[in-house]
C-alpha cells in the first residue's frame, strides 16, 4: 500500500474520479499505445509467457494422449460420468461472464468506470470461453466428430435432437463465443486505427492498418458505430444471461437429486459473475502495478468490482442455503439424502471448504479497509476462484456419485490427466492473455478519451 492509495480510500465516494485528473487526449493515447508500440517488453512478460506456454504444452500432450487411448484417460466412469470435464467447462465459461457484464450491461447502465477495464475483461471472456469450449468437445469421446452436433444436411439422413439441453448448450456457447468475438473486434477498430497512425515500423503499420480497415474517425462512421455498439450491448446482455441459464439447464433438466432445482438458472448466473469478477481482480491488480496504469484503473474500480463480487457472492450463498432448505423441505428421501450426503458424506470436506470460500470469505468485502487493501483483495479473489471451482465439483460429483440406487453408488477421483488438462488450459488462457497485452491495447483508448473532462462539448 503506498500513500496514494491511502489518500484515495478516504475520498472514495461517488465524487472520486474514474480517471486520473492529469490525463489528456494525447497522454491517454500515448500511454496506452506505448505499451504495445514503444515500451520495452518487461522481462516479466517473457517469463510469464514462457511458463504459461509451457503449461499449454501439457494441454496438447493430454489431448494427444486422449486421442490415442480414449476418454478412459479421465477419471470418469459410471456413476460419475461427468467429472472434471464438465465442472471445468462450467468454471471457465462462468469466468467469461464478467467480461460481458462489464462491457455490455455496465455500458447500458452508463457506468463510466467500466471503460478502463472493459477491453481487458472482454479479452478474458474470449479466452475463457475458448478453454471452456474444449472440455465438452474432448469429453465426446470422438472429438473429431464434434461437427455432428450442428444441424447440417448429412448422408445419414438424421438431425440433432433439439429437445435436449445439450443441444441448447451447443447453440448458446457457440453464439456466445461468436458475439463476444465480434463485440471485442468492433471495440478494437478505432484503436487499431490509433496504433496504425502511431506505429514506427512498417510491418506494424500494415498489420494494424489492415485490422483498422480504413477507419478514419468520420462523424458519420462514429454515429453508426455507436449505434452498432449499443445494439450489440443490448443483444449481449440477454445473451450472457441466457448462456449460463442454459448451462444450468444441463443440470436442472436432469432428474438427478441436487440438480433438478428451479433455483439453478439465477444461482448459476450470479455465480458466473461472481467468479468472473474475482478473475478480473486477480488479473488487473498485478497488471496495473506492473504497467503503471494506476491513473486508468483507479481505486474506484477496485471498490466497485469488490462490491459487485460481494453482492453476487451473497446471491450465491443464498443459493447454497436454499438448496439445503429445498432438500429438507421437499420431504423427498433422495433429496434429503443428497443434502445430508453433501454435508456428511465422503465429499463433505469439499462442501465445507466451499462454504468457507464462497459463504464466509466474501463477507470481508463489507469492510472498506479490506476493499482498499489490494493484497487482501487479490487473496480473496484467489479464494473465490477456488470456491467457485469447488462449487461445481460439489454439484457435479456429489449429486452423481450416490443417487437413487445404493448398489450403483461409486466414487470419483480425477486422474492425473484430468489435472493435466485443467492446468494446461490455465496455461493456454494465460498464454493468450500475455499475447493480448503485448500486441493489443489492453485499455480502450477511444473510450478513455470520451470520459476525459475535455471531451465535454461546450456549446456556450
Amino acid at each position: 500500500m503506498d500513500e496514494r492509495d491511502d489518500d484515495l480510500h478516504t475520498s472514495i465516494h461517488a465524487t472520486h474520479p474514474v480517471v486520473g485528473t492529469e490525463l489528456t487526449f494525447g497522454s491517454v493515447t500515448d500511454k496506452i499505445s506505448a505499451i504495445v508500440l514503444k515500451r520495452k517488453t518487461p522481462i516479466g512478460w517473457f517469463v510469464g509467457f514462457a511458463v504459461s506456454f509451457a503449461l499449454f504444452q501439457l494441454m496438447l500432450l493430454t489431448i494427444t494422449k486422449m486421442l490415442f487411448v480414449g476418454i478412459g484417460l479421465w477419471g470418469v466412469n459410471v456413476p460419475v460420468a461427468w467429472g472434471m470435464d464438465i465442472l471445468n467447462f462450467v468454471w471457465w465459461i462462468g469466468i467469461g461472464h464478467a467480461g460481458t457484464l462489464i462491457s455490455a450491461i455496465l455500458l447500458l447502465l452508463r457506468q463510466k468506470w467500466r471503460t478502463s477495464i472493459n477491453r481487458f475483461a472482454e479479452a478474458m471472456t474470449l479466452f475463457a470461453v475458448a478453454q471452456a469450449g474444449m472440455y465438452p468437445i474432448m469429453h465426446l469421446g470422438r472429438p473429431w466428430l464434434a461437427y455432428w452436433l450442428f444441424p447440417y444436411p448429412n448422408t445419414m439422413g438424421i438431425w440433432p435432437q433439439f429437445r435436449s439441453p445439450l443441444m441448447w448448450d451447443v447453440f448458446a456457447v457457440s453464439t456466445y463465443a461468436t458475439v463476444s468475438a465480434m463485440f471485442w473486434f468492433v471495440g478494437l477498430i478505432p484503436d487499431f486505427a490509433t496504433l496504425r497512425d502511431r506505429a514506427n515500423s512498417k510491418s506494424f503499420r500494415i498489420i494494424y492498418g489492415m485490422l483498422a480497415m480504413g477507419w478514419r474517425g468520420s462523424a458519420r462512421h462514429w454515429h453508426r458505430y455507436e449505434t452498432a455498439y449499443l445494439l450489440l450491448a443490448g443483444l449481449a446482455t440477454p445473451l450472457v444471461l441466457s448462456v449460463h441459464t442454459i448451462v444450468s439447464f444441463d443440470f436442472a433438466v436432469g432428474i438427478i437429486p441436487g440438480w433438478h432445482a428451479t433455483i439453478f438458472p439465477p444461482y448459476f448466473v450470479a455465480g458466473a459473475i461472481y467468479a468472473g469478477f474475482a478473475m478480473v481482480l486477480l488479473l488487473t491488480i498485478p497488471l496495473r502495478k506492473i504497467y503503471g496504469l494506476e491513473s486508468f484503473i483507479t481505486m474506484r474500480h477496485m471498490h466497485n468490482m469488490a462490491k459487485v463480487m460481494l453482492a453476487t457472492g451473497l446471491i450465491v450463498f443464498y443459493g447454497y442455503l436454499i438448496e439445503a432448505f429445498f432438500g429438507w423441505y421437499s420431504g423427498n428421501q433422495y433429496e434429503r439424502f443428497m443434502i445430508w450426503n453433501r454435508m456428511h458424506g465422503p465429499y463433505a470436506p469439499y462442501y465445507w471448504t466451499l462454504i468457507l470460500c464462497n459463504g464466509l470469505t466474501p463477507q470481508f468485502l463489507w469492510f472498506k479497509k479490506i476493499r482498499s487493501n489490494l493484497l487482501l483483495l487479490w487473496l480473496i479473489s484467489i479464494v473465490v476462484s477456488i470456491g467457485m471451482w469447488l462449487e461445481r465439483f460439489v454439484i457435479v460429483v456429489t449429486s452423481l456419485h450416490r443417487d437413487y440406487l445404493p448398489s450403483s453408488w461409486g466414487m470419483y477421483k480425477p486422474s492425473q490427466w484430468d489435472w493435466g488438462m485443467f492446468i494446461g488450459t490455465i496455461g493456454f488462457f494465460f498464454a493468450l492473455l500475455f499475447l493480448f497485452i503485448r500486441f493489443l491495447p489492453m485499455i480502450s483508448i477511444f473510450e478513455m478519451r470520451t470520459i476525459l473532462p475535455e471531451a465535454e462539448v461546450d456549446e456556450g
Binding site: 438431425w159 447453440f171 478519451r449 456549446e459
Partner: protein, 180 residues
C-alpha cells in the same frame, strides 16, 4: 462562380478541441454547405447532428436480422423435428415448442449481432484501404487529439478560395487542401 476541381477532394480545417469543431461544423452547415464531414478521435454526439447527419437505418437492419434469426431458428427446428425426421423422445410431442425456445433465442441474437456488425461496416463502406483525407499532413492526429472539418469539393456551393476563407474565419488552427 463554380470551378472544376478535378484533383481536389476538399478543404480541411484542424481544431484543437471538440467544442471548437462542433461550433465550426454548425456554422458551416448554417452557411449552406451540405457535403461536409467531421473527423474526431472519439464519437461526439453533437457533431453528427451538426453536420446534418440524419438517423441511421442500422437499427432497422438489426431488427430485420433479429426477426429472420428468430423465424429461421424456430422453423429450422420445427422442420427437422416435425417434418423431416420425426422421432418420439420420451413421449413428447413432435412440435415441443417450449424446448425449441432456447435455440430460437440464440439464433435471434446471433443473426441480429451479425446484422449489427456487418451492417455498420457496409453502411460505413469499410473496409476502405484508401481515402483522400489520409493525404492531409496532420491527419494522423485524428486518432490522437486533433479534430478536423472537411468541406468536400462535390458540394454544390463549393468554391476553393471561398471555402478556405470561410474555414479560416472559424478560428481553425490550420486550413489545408486535400488532394484526391
Amino acid at each position: 462562380m463554380k470551378r472544376k476541381h478535378s484533383t481536389l477532394y476538399g478543404v480541411m480545417a484542424q481544431f484543437d478541441n471538440p467544442s471548437a469543431l462542433v461550433a465550426a461544423a454548425r456554422e458551416t452547415y448554417e452557411a449552406g454547405y451540405r457535403q461536409i464531414n467531421g473527423y474526431s478521435p472519439f464519437p461526439i454526439e453533437e457533431l453528427s447532428e451538426a453536420i446534418g447527419f440524419k438517423r441511421s437505418v442500422l437499427p432497422i437492419i438489426v431488427l430485420i436480422g433479429g426477426i429472420i434469426g428468430a423465424l429461421g431458428g424456430f422453423f429450422m427446428q420445427y422442420w427437422m423435428e416435425v417434418v423431416d425426421y420425426p422421432i418420439n423422445v420420451g413421449g413428447k410431442p413432435f412440435n415441443s415448442w417450449p424446448a425449441f425456445i432456447p435455440i430460437t433465442f440464440e439464433c435471434t441474437v446471433l443473426v441480429a449481432a451479425f446484422s449489427a456488425v456487418l451492417g455498420m461496416l457496409a453502411l460505413n463502406k469499410l473496409p476502405q484501404p484508401y481515402h483522400p483525407v489520409f493525404n492531409a499532413p496532420n491527419f494522423a492526429l485524428a486518432t490522437r487529439d486533433s479534430f478536423f472539418l472537411v468541406i468536400e469539393s462535390k458540394d454544390p456551393k463549393f468554391d476553393h478560395d471561398e471555402a478556405v476563407r470561410f474555414l479560416r474565419s472559424l478560428e481553425a488552427r490550420e486550413v489545408v487542401d486535400v488532394e484526391l
